[in-house]
């Protein structure tokens, strides 16, 4: 095939078919190889044997169905208030085994029937064109006639107003999805309604006690030893009925203690820690997974989802992985009873970056 263009330039609709010039190959197509008879074609005993094999497989399938019912009724149901995973596993295995035999018996049986007993001659059939030009021109003419009869081309006013109507008619259907976001409409402040502003704020506030996740007990400074990492939530979160997970998704904090001499502290954060006890948002700044791993001898925090690594001694600067900004720090102090409390909310939004996220403090943002 030396030519580069196919099809007839005079007839742009004509489609050339590859391989019509098969005469160019080194040898002529010898045609289909001769059919080789199978043993079951020639030997009636072999055919009978194949028949027995297939029916054996079908019987195997019947046995499989019975095994299923043994598993279903014989093993029975897990008694309430008792968790014996062994029973569940046994039942699951019997159901699987029974179904597998029931299905494989039928499937392998039918396939073997087809292979060994049904005729294995390959047939040849002509391949008609997907389309022919005569039909196509008829169809085009028909469409043109239909268009003419409808007069859509002759009457542009009809056409244009119809297009206009059709273009805006789906808009209500789209607009109706507005309430997929059903957080708004309660606040006077429109920014609050859409929740973007809310993403800046967490439950932490001046004097909010740090309490352990799950147990809810408050934490004294001396409870936090060097090397330990506590999962912390704001006091009151665990008792919430409503909105608990939403608040927790923003407010959850990791509390760790460092040797104060190892800490590199930037300006303005000098009093954010209590004798080396620091609190950082637990939500990864990459795409929001909780950071669960603390390696105490390197002081690295590691996100198990995408391996973003933060260095605790450098105020959780990113040292490896896909995150591109440090974890926000929660300024903490000690209250009169000696318990750890927050000085304020986080100074910047926690969690993954979003378009409206402006990390500057409120006065600089002009908010």
């Amino acid at each position: 095939m030396g030519e580069q263009r196919h099809g007839d330039p005079g007839k742009p609709g004509a489609v050339e078919r590859a391989g019509d010039d098969s005469g160019n190959f080194a040898i002529e197509d010898p045609g289909l190889p001769p059919h080789r008879p199978r043993i079951t074609d020639e030997d009636p005993r072999a055919a009978k044997r194949a028949e027995r094999q297939v029916s054996f497989l079908f019987i195997l399938s019947i046995i499989g169905t019975i095994v299923f019912f043994v598993g279903y009724f014989g093993v029975g149901q897990l008694p309430l208030d008792e968790t014996d995973m062994g029973i569940i596993r046994l039942q699951n295995t019997l159901l699987g085994l029974g179904t597998a035999f029931a299905m494989l018996g039928i499937g392998v049986g039918i396939v073997q029937w087809g292979r060994a007993l049904m005729p294995d001659h390959e047939w040849v059939e002509e391949r008609e064109s997907v389309a022919n030009e005569e039909d196509r021109s008829d169809a085009v003419n028909m469409i043109n006639d239909i268009a003419d009869e409808s007069q859509i081309k002759r009457r542009p006013l009809l056409r244009n107003t119809l297009i206009g109507a059709l273009a805006i008619a789906p808009l209500p259907a789209v607009a109706m999805f507005r309430d997929l976001d059903n957080t708004g409409n309660q606040s006077e402040d429109p920014a609050q309604n859409f929740g973007v502003e809310r993403m800046r704020h967490t439950m932490w506030d001046t004097g909010t006690r740090l309490v352990r996740d799950v147990t809810g007990t408050p934490i004294k400074a001396e409870d936090v030893t060097i090397g330990s990492a506590l999962h912390v939530v704001p006091d009151g979160l665990l008792d919430m009925e409503h909105d608990k997970l939403n608040q927790k998704a923003k407010a959850v904090v990791l509390l760790m203690r460092l040797n104060p001499e190892q800490m590199q502290i930037s300006d303005g954060r000098e009093d954010w820690h209590v004798d080396g006890i620091v609190a950082y948002s637990k939500i990864c700044t990459h795409v929001g997974c909780p950071i669960a791993l603390y390696e105490q001898h390197t002081h690295h925090l590691l996100c198990p989802c995408h391996q973003s690594t933060y260095d605790l001694t450098q105020e959780c600067k990113v040292v490896f992985g896909p995150a591109s900004h440090p974890l926000p720090q929660l300024p903490i102090t000690v209250d009169n009873d000696g318990y750890l409390v927050a000085q304020s909310d986080f100074q910047e939004p926690v969690g993954p970056v979003y378009w409206e996220r402006d990390p500057r403090p409120a006065e600089e943002r002009g908010a």
Binding site: L32, L95, V111, W123, V124, D181, T183, D213
Partner: protein, 565 residues
């Protein structure tokens, strides 16, 4: 009316046919499909596996809907599984536990559903690779390739929406990642996340919404696309591999009734049986060990289902900081700063390139080959070295991303540094496809040369003949005509030089196309021509005659000597 009166139904089949045909005209359908031919090859089974596993997933999924409660309402668990007794959770998670422990066979059905889904996506992917590497997407089947691509994307959507439904910690973190990626999108991201979750993450809406998508919208679209896909297969008739007797103008295969129906129908049961076997023995997604969703805990070594791995992996590979240079950019605007997290956005580019490149491939290839003809005979992958090399490069690109989703596990099991694994994968992501392209192309050309050798000189038998003159010849066994035809009957593509446009100038675009075409088709192995074959045969005959001649002479000499003595 005379026709009906003439037709006398005598057999039972005839009577049923009479009833159905006079009401539905079904005879035409029987005539059309009853003996329709389907070419046979083991690589054609992948599409069938995909179809059958989809059917199994629909059946098992329908069962699960009767017991699953897609609600995020708070409940305190009081079911059969002791370790979670008294734990606060969503109704969705509680009902998923009930399906596992209190509905007999519920766990089995869950496992069938999950394994079936994994196999569905896997089979669809492998089917797609088969279609790609054999060139089955070429005219007139380009649209069906697009429909297939859409099906693959829908399969991922079906998988992900289902994966998240049990509302446990593992899939909850998956949703958290989706939320993070959505929020990263400029301008619309935050809104998208809010509309998706019904407010701030996680909210109390997402599970019922995913459920609607998972059991109604996505499967309806898949069924529609499958119908179009199969309809087009019927319209086009199936492609066939090259070989003697198989032409562009014919179809060689088994008729639907009875052979193909038996094989394909039986194969459905085999796929079902294998999925049942796996589900009976191999535990998947043991949700009771994860606990209910909570934004704080996560376990190390979290993995998404395999088909989401590549997107998760590419997120991991992108460095967020280059030294002290952050990938988080802030754009000053009149109303304040807006944030552009390039660390999350850049990974979307390779993922998009892969998807868009896949969908558009039939047209990209046509641009390089200029081949606009209909093709019904498949290419052997070696006979399309450029395409095969691109396919392998794409597979490597995908697989590196996919492997990256397990970078932490690789580091743990092979005792490597997590960082080194990431560096190595970053290197491979960029250079792996290039190396893969070059190596694959060379392998294809080498295989073509081997085919050429066999066509011209036959197979080496390993029998060495030594003539009395001292010449050493290896006996070659020529292949028969059927095999020979398979080796010589293919076309090569030639690079298309840049074409001048109407004004007689060669534009940049044209030059670019020409450069691509050159990279693909400059090196090629032409098929054996009739003349070469004749020459090779003549040469062999000469050798043989020489050998026979000299053997003959030696025999005469020996006989002469014997007579003399």
């Amino acid at each position: 009316m005379s026709v009906i009166q003439d037709y006398q139904a005598s057999t039972k089949t005839g009577k049923i046919a009479n009833f159905v045909d006079t009401r539905m005209g079904a005879s035409k359908m029987v005539k059309e499909f009853g003996r329709k031919l389907f070419p046979d090859h083991w690589t054609f089974l992948f599409g069938e596996v995909a179809l059958y596993s989809f059917v199994i997933v629909v059946l098992s999924g329908a069962f699960l809907t009767f017991f699953f409660d897609p609600s995020m309402a708070h409940v305190v668990y009081d079911g059969a599984y002791k370790p979670l007794y008294g734990v606060e959770m969503s109704a969705a998670y509680a009902s998923a536990l009930d399906i596992s422990f209190e509905i007999r066979g519920g766990l089995f059905m869950r496992q069938v559903h999950h394994w079936g889904a994994l196999i569905f996506v896997a089979a669809a992917s492998v089917h797609m690779l088969r279609v790609f590497f054999t060139g089955a997407f070429r005219r007139p089947r380009e649209l069906n390739w697009v429909v297939g691509s859409v099906l693959l994307i829908l399969a991922l959507a079906a998988g992900f929406t289902g994966y998240s439904l049990p509302d446990e910690v593992l899939s909850g973190n998956g949703l958290r990642i989706i939320d993070g990626v959505m929020k990263a999108l400029p301008v619309v991201g935050t809104y998208m996340s809010f509309f998706f979750f019904g407010g701030e993450f996680p909210g109390d809406q997402i599970i019922p919404r995913l459920y609607s998508l998972h059991i109604m919208v996505v499967p309806a679209l898949i069924i529609l696309m499958v119908a179009i896909h199969l309809f087009m297969v019927v319209v086009h008739k199936h492609t066939q591999y090259p070989g003697p007797g198989r032409k562009h103008t014919n179809v060689v295969g088994y008729p639907v009734g009875p052979v193909y129906a038996a094989k394909a129908g039986g194969f459905f049961f085999i796929v079902f049986g294998i999925i049942a076997l796996i589900s009976g023995f191999l535990q998947i997604n043991p949700i009771w060990t994860y606990g209910p969703y909570d934004p704080s805990p996560v376990s190390a070594g979290t993995q998404p289902d395999w088909y989401i791995g590549w997107v998760d992996g590419i997120l991991r590979l992108m460095p967020g900081m280059l030294g002290d240079f952050s990938m988080l950019w802030h754009i000053p605007m009149p109303w304040g700063w807006n944030a552009l997290p390039l660390g999350v956005l850049i990974p979307l580019i390779p993922a998009g390139v892969l998807i868009v490149g896949m969908v558009l491939w039939p047209w990209l290839e046509r641009g390089m080959t200029g081949d606009n003809r209909e093709h019904h005979i498949l290419d052997r992958p070696r006979n399309a070295p450029g395409r095969t090399a691109v396919g392998v490069a794409g597979v490597i690109f995908y697989c590196v991303m996919w492997a990256a989703a397990s970078s932490d596990l690789m580091a743990v099991y092979f005792m490597l540094s997590l960082n080194d694994v990431a560096y190595a994968l970053r290197f491979l992501l960029i250079f792996g496809p290039i190396i893969g392209f070059i190596v694959t192309k060379r392998i294809c050309l080498a295989l073509q040369r081997k085919d050429r050798e066999i066509a011209l000189h036959g197979r080496e038998t390993g029998i060495i003949e030594w003539t009395p003159e001292g010449a050493i010849l290896e006996r070659h066994e020529m292949v028969d005509d059927y095999r020979l035809y398979e080796l010589v009957a293919y076309e090569t593509q030639q690079p298309i030089p840049a074409q001048p446009n109407n004004k007689g100038r060669v534009g940049l675009w044209s030059k670019f196309k020409a450069a691509c075409s050159r990279a693909f088709y400059e090196d090629r192995v032409e098929p054996v021509t009739a003349q070469e074959l004749a020459e090779a045969h003549a040469e062999h005959d000469q050798d043989r005659r020489k050998l026979q001649g000299s053997v003959g002479r030696t025999v005469q000499e020996l006989e002469g000597k014997r007579d003399n003595s």
